[in-house]
C-alpha cells in the first residue's frame, strides 16, 4: 500500500505528515474566523495565533532539543517591551501612530529578544535537565524583576499603556489578518529549520547528547544557536502582543507566562510540528469559554493538565498519530495475511 499511489491527500500525508494535514485544515478555519459575527472570536483568534507562535518557539527547545525552559516568556516579554517602547517613542503626543512607524516598532522586537536569548543562552546551554530548567527559570525571574523595578525605564508595575495601532489596524479583522500572515510566514520558516540538517542535529541532542558530541557536534554551540532562534520567534510573538492588547506589563516575562507555552505544547503534543498551535487553539478557546461562566479557570486548566500528563502525555496529536499507526499496522498485517493465504494451494 504505497502512499504514492493514493490520492493527493495521502500523498500530502506522506510528505508532510499529520502536522501538514492539521495545518492545512486549521489554515482554512483561520482564514474564515473574521467572518463570524462580532469581534469576540476574531480577538480570540488573534490571541490563539500569537500565543501559538510563542508555544511553537518553546517547542523548538522542548520537543526538538529535549530541554524544558521555564524562562522562555522572558524573550516573549523582551520582544513585547522593545516594541512597546519604540512604539511609544514613535507615536504622536496625541497617541496616534502611522503604519510605517507601527511596522518598524514590530520589527525591533525579535532582535532585542534574540540578544537576550544570546546572553541567557550562553549560560543555560552549559547545563541540561533540571539544572537547565532551573537556570532558565532564574534568568526569567531576574529579567522579570529588572523590568518590574526599573520604573524610570519600563514604568515598572504600571506597564506601558496606550499602544493603539494605526487606524487601519484598529479594526480587529485587519489586525487579525496581519497576525495570521506573519505567523504563517514564521511557521514556514520554522518548518524549514526543523526539517533542515540543523533540525535533525537538534533531535540527536534530544535523544543522546553524548553521542552527538562523538559525531563531531559542538553541543553547546548548537544548543545556543537553537536557543537564540527560539528566543527570536518568541520575541516576534511578543512584538505582536503589545499592540493587540494595547499594553504590556512585567507579568509577560514571568514563569506563569512561560507555563502557558508549556501547557499549550503539552496539550497539542510536543512530538508533532503543529502540536503547539493545536494546543493553543484548545487552550485559548477553553479559556474563553470557561471564563464566561466561572472564575475558576486555574482549577479547570490544572485538571486538564493533570489528566493529560497522566493519560495522554503525547497530547492530542500524539494520540491521533498512535491511532493512525495502529490502524496502518493492522492494515499491513491484514494484507500480509491475505498475501500468505493466497499463496497456499
Amino acid at each position: 500500500m504505497s502512499a504514492y499511489n493514493g490520492n493527493w491527500w495521502s500523498r500530502f500525508y506522506a510528505r508532510y505528515g499529520l502536522s501538514g494535514r492539521f495545518a492545512l485544515i486549521m489554515l482554512v478555519f483561520f482564514l474564515l474566523v473574521p467572518l463570524l459575527p462580532g469581534e469576540f472570536w476574531t480577538h480570540v483568534g488573534t490571541e490563539i495565533l500569537i500565543l501559538g507562535l510563542f508555544a511553537m518557539s518553546f517547542n523548538l527547545l522542548y520537543g526538538y532539543m529535549g530541554q524544558i525552559s521555564f524562562g522562555h516568556a522572558a524573550f516573549f516579554g523582551l520582544g513585547a517591551y522593545a516594541t512597546a517602547m519604540l512604539f511609544t517613542a514613535l507615536k504622536t503626543p496625541a497617541g496616534a501612530i502611522g503604519v510605517p512607524e507601527f511596522l518598524l516598532s514590530l520589527l525591533v522586537g525579535p532582535p532585542v529578544a534574540a540578544l537576550g536569548a544570546l546572553i541567557v543562552g550562553f549560560f543555560c546551554v552549559r547545563l541540561t535537565g533540571i539544572y537547565f530548567a532551573m537556570l532558565s527559570l532564574a534568568f526569567g525571574e531576574l529579567l522579570f524583576y529588572i523590568v518590574f523595578s526599573w520604573y524610570s525605564f519600563t514604568k515598572g508595575d504600571d506597564g506601558i499603556q496606550g499602544l493603539l495601532p494605526p487606524l487601519y489596524f484598529q479594526d480587529a479583522g485587519n489586525y487579525y489578518y496581519l497576525t495570521l500572515a506573519i505567523v504563517v510566514v514564521a511557521l514556514l520558516a520554522m518548518w524549514r529549520i526543523t526539517e533542515s540538517p540543523f533540525g535533525y542535529i537538534m533531535r540527536t541532542l534530544r535523544d543522546n547528547q553524548r553521542r552527538a558530541a562523538y559525531l563531531g557536534i559542538n553541543v553547546r554551540l548548537h544548543m545556543l544557536m537553537n536557543f537564540v532562534i527560539a528566543g527570536t520567534f518568541a520575541g516576534l510573538a511578543g512584538a505582536l502582543w503589545g499592540p493587540f492588547s494595547r499594553s504590556v506589563s512585567p507579568g509577560l516575562l514571568g514563569w506563569q507566562e512561560s507555563g502557558i507555552a508549556v501547557f499549550m505544547t503539552l496539550i497539542g503534543g510536543a512530538g508533532a510540528f503543529i502540536g503547539p498551535i493545536v494546543g493553543s487553539v484548545i487552550y485559548t478557546m477553553l479559556q474563553a469559554v470557561v471564563k464566561m461562566y466561572t472564575v475558576y479557570w486555574p482549577l479547570t486548566i490544572g485538571t486538564v493538565i493533570l489528566l493529560i500528563v497522566l493519560f495522554l502525555p503525547g497530547g492530542v496529536l500524539g494520540l491521533i498519530e498512535k491511532r493512525i499507526r495502529l490502524r496502518r499496522g493492522e492494515a499491513a498485517q491484514a494484507m500480509e495475511q491475505a498475501a500468505s493465504m493466497a499463496e497456499k494451494p
Binding site: 541540561t128 537556570l135 525571574e141 524583576y145
Partner: protein
Amino acid sequence: MDIAPYALQLFSGLSRAMVLFLLSAGLSLIFGVMNILNFAHATLWLLSGYVTFSIFTFLSEQFGASPWMLLPAIVCTVALMSLLGFALERFLIRHTYERELPEQLLLTFALVLILGDVIKLIWGLENRRINLGVQPIEMLDTMVNPYQFVIIGTGVTVAAGLWYFLHRTRFGKIVRAAVYSRNMVSALGIRIPMIYAMVFALGVGLAALASGVFLPLLPMSLGVDHDIIVQCFAVVVIGGFGSMLGTFVASIIVGVVYSFSILFWPDGALAMIFLILIVVLIWRPWGLFGTELRY
C-alpha cells in the same frame, strides 16, 4: 554608627530565613529522595495556613480566645496536611516516576493551579491572619516583634530535630541512603514506595508547620505561594538538593541578603536572590553542599 537598623534587618532576615528553611527543607528532602521538584510545595504551605487559621478560629470560639490555641491548631494542621501529602503521592505523583522530567514538573505545576483555586473556593479572596496580640518590645533602641524570636527558635529546633532524625534514627538513615541510591535501598529489601510516600508526607508536614509559625507574622493571601516558591527553589539549589545542612545555610544566606537588600535596593531585593542563584548554577550546579550525582 547606628547599628539599630542593621541589627533589625539582620533579625528580620533571620526570621525570614527560618520560615524559608522550614518550607524549603521539605522541598529539598522530596527532591533529594524522589527526584521530584514539587512546584506545589508553597501552595500546600498556603493551604496549610488557611487550615490553621480555621482551626485556630474554631478553637478560639469553643474554648476562649488565647494565643495558645495556635499550638493545637498547628498540630492538627500538620497531621491533616501530612495525610494529604501521603494521598497525593500515593494516587498522583507515584504515576510519574517512570516519566520524563517535564511531565513530573507539569503534574506538580497543575497542582499549584488546582489547589490555589480550591483555597479560593473554600475561603474566598480575603487575607487571613492571626493576631496574637503580642506587643513589640524594645531592644537596642528600637522596637522589635518578639514573635520573631519564636520563629527563629522554632527554625533552629526543627533543624536540630531533622538532623537528629536523619542521622540517628533508622528511618532517617534509610532516607539519606535513598538520596544516594534508591536502587541499593530497594535491593536491601526496604519498600521504596512506602518510603517515598512517607517522605512526601514529611515534606508537606514541614510546610504545614512553617505555615502555622508564619501566620501570626504576616497574612496569608492568594498568590503568595507563587512568589515564595521561586525563593524556595533558589534556597534548595543554592544549598544543594537533598542536603539539610545546605538548605539551612542557604536559607540564612537568602533571608539575610533579602533583608539587607531592602535597605539599599528595595525593589531589587528579589533580583539579588536570583543573581546568587544564577551564579551558583553556573559555577556549581549541585549547590554548596549537594553531591555531584543526579542530573
